[in-house]
């Protein structure tokens, strides 16, 4: 599965508070309604917490959710 890159995922300025680590782009598996996507998202290199920006959640992600719901 090829990795999808989305500019909206940007996490500029945010770091993991628990690990005090800057976030790095990592491939992450996202799933909804039996569909699976490999997306590069800002992630804490230590605890693997994934950051999902407001822009991503309400933009691309929302679109894909709606699309899958209508499939």
């Amino acid at each position: 599965m090829s990795v999808i890159r989305v500019p909206e995922a940007d996490a500029a300025g945010w770091r993991c508070a628990a690990c005090d680590e800057p976030l790095v782009m990592r491939p992450v598996e996202l799933e909804y309604l039996d569909a699976l996507f490999n997306v590069e998202l800002p992630t804490c290199p230590q605890c693997n917490r994934v950051f999902i920006s407001e822009e991503l959640a309400l933009g691309k992600m929302h679109q894909v959710e709606q699309l899958l719901e209508d499939k």
């Binding site: 996490a11 300025g13 945010w14 770091r15 993991c16 508070a17 628990a18 976030l23 992450v28 598996e29 996202l30 799933e31 909804y32 309604l33 699976l36 605890c47 693997n48 917490r49 994934v50 950051f51 999902i52 407001e54 959640a57 309400l58 992600m61 929302h62 894909v64 959710e65 709606q66 699309l67 719901e69 209508d70 499939k71």
Partner: protein
Amino acid sequence: MEQAELRAWEHKCIQEETPWCTAACPIHVDAREFCSLMAQRRWDKAWALLARTMPLPGVLARMCGGTCESACIRAQAGGAVGVSRLERFCADNSTHLPPPRPLPSRNKSVAVMGGGMTGLCAAWEMARRGFDVTLLCDAVGVGLRDLPDTVLPAGVLDREIASLRAMGVVIETGVQLSRSLIESLLEEKDAVFIDGNTVSEAGMLGEPDELTLGTRLAGLFASPADNAPPEFQAAAARRAANSVERFTQGVSMVSGRELEGPYQTRLFTSLTTVEPVAPVQGSSGWSEADARDEARRCLQCECMECVNVCEYLKHYKQYPKVYARRIYNNASIVMGTRQANTMINSCMLCGLCQAVCPEDFSMADLCLEARRSMVELGTMPPSTHEFALRDMAFANGDSCALARHAPAEDSSDYLFFPGCQLTASDPDGVHAAYADLRARLGRVGLMLRCCGAPAHWAGRQSLADQSLSILKGEWEQLGSPRIIAACPTCLKTLRQWLPDAEIVSHWSALRAMGLPGGARADGGTLTVGDPCSARHDTMLREDVRTLLDRLGVDTVEPELNGELAQCCGFGGLLAEANPELGQAVAQRRADELTKDFVTYCVMCRDRIARMGKRALHLYDLLYPGDGEPGSRPAPGYSDRRENRTRLCERLLRELWNTDQAEAEPHEAVQVAFTDEAARLMENRRILRSDVQKVLYHATRTGAQFVHDETDRLLASWRPSTVAYWVEYEPQNDGFMVHRAWCHRMRVRGGQS
């Protein structure tokens, strides 16, 4: 939906039926479109339209007797549209067109006998369809030659005859009809047609068949010698051409011919708002403005009754016949996107369309049925109604629901059922109402819960049944008392699903009991708006008006009210499925108000209030608080929940000395919101409790992000299907929330 059901739905909507003029016209000229083009002074386009339908258009357009005008419904508002005069004007004022290009040759030959109107039209019709036509006659243009210029200007006839030749018709003149000629032609040609008006010998063949124009000889067709007006002669010619086509193809001569010649239409066009306008005088020497004005009198007949009153139907740009097909197609999709889901889920199920439809078409039934089958098949988008159904579950949960006899009583004569939305919007009003009912009626029990309408609207019938059976069980436990319901939707729902119960509206009860003590009597003039759920409840609407009258309110009735009441956008869960459209619907209703608004459905009240209008619920007058009635805000989703919980707690404490079940731990988290955050949350259906859960878990686990510049924190949590993100900063003992968002997609591997 089965194909047959689709057909039945489609048949029911008569929007696509032919207008009266076209149905009455023997050759079915599209007079409506013709008038539309003429009204725009597009003479050449209008002429092209006539030339598409009319044989020998230059002749027929000037000679048509205007049969359509006897059917035109403009006759009831000033006078029929002068279509035949418009056709003449168009013929005189447009650019001549070359004759139509015939279809490729069928290699079938037809002899047409007789050079009068019918014969010429028959030759035209058949040549157009690709027959090899020979026109045999004594002389061409019998009866058309010697007409005055005012009827048929010189040269027009010859030009159309030249067109006939250009279409491949071979014309032989000086031919006399005889029995032997007919016989030899029948041998030689594939079919023969005789113009009965021109060829007197045709009489010896007997009367042709009315439907087919067939005679006793196979392959020989004839028109009757009736000297009918030109448009009927043209229709006879077309009928003959149809018969010749069927005959040479060897298909049925009779089936499916009902729409040849004039017929009755099923169309409906309302004239209620049509101002009478007299026809433009004169029949010749019209100016362009005269012609345009006459064409403008055409009503462009169509139905659209339902679309005109329903913002939802208007929004999707078509009408129910088209929607029925879309819904059918939507259900048949196996792979690919179901384009009509949102459309199906946007109907308010309010029943207004059916109330105005001449054919009783119920878009509500159609959409509800579609929703139910989507739920059954598992194709209903999960997010559409989830929030509303969660809200319903909350209203029926331990923190909001109760069912009890009045304090210190062990039986109930009545059971007050205020409904979960009234409780959510005006808990103090409900509190006062219950006190009033107890004070005046004695043993009045209380049931706080949802009637199940949201589940019903969402097409989740099993969920609705389940909720109802709990409700029913509790009601029976209380001894099946008479129910006093305050919400018109609850009334409608409970009456439908709880037929054994005796149910009265709170308004009926108050009408009988008299106004409560603290009622305000300084009403003034208000627009009384009926909710869509009261459409079929005449008594309810009367009760409310009686109460308003006693409250000293002078009422103004909006145009669409009573049986034609509009929905506020809450019905059918429109506001969940399609928030923008829900907004537009409420806006339209608010815009139509000339005075401040009063109603007896709290959702109508809240949604109109949110449009910036002063809006009152009857409780605001009957059980007023301290503030100016109507100034009470329309609470958002979180406050609605809190209002229900608080009311339940308060009643339990005050009346039954009971403490509510323990609060959940996240409820202790102190949160405040910026205005922006509060606005975002309302639009995104994020509740205060969702935010509290996020913060509760973030503080326990420490799983947060922090921003280098703003120092704000960011955390997320997924209670079940939706993940919530909250951007916040610590403040005093709690948190100030700046932003919040959510998504349904899940990070694989467990992150909430």
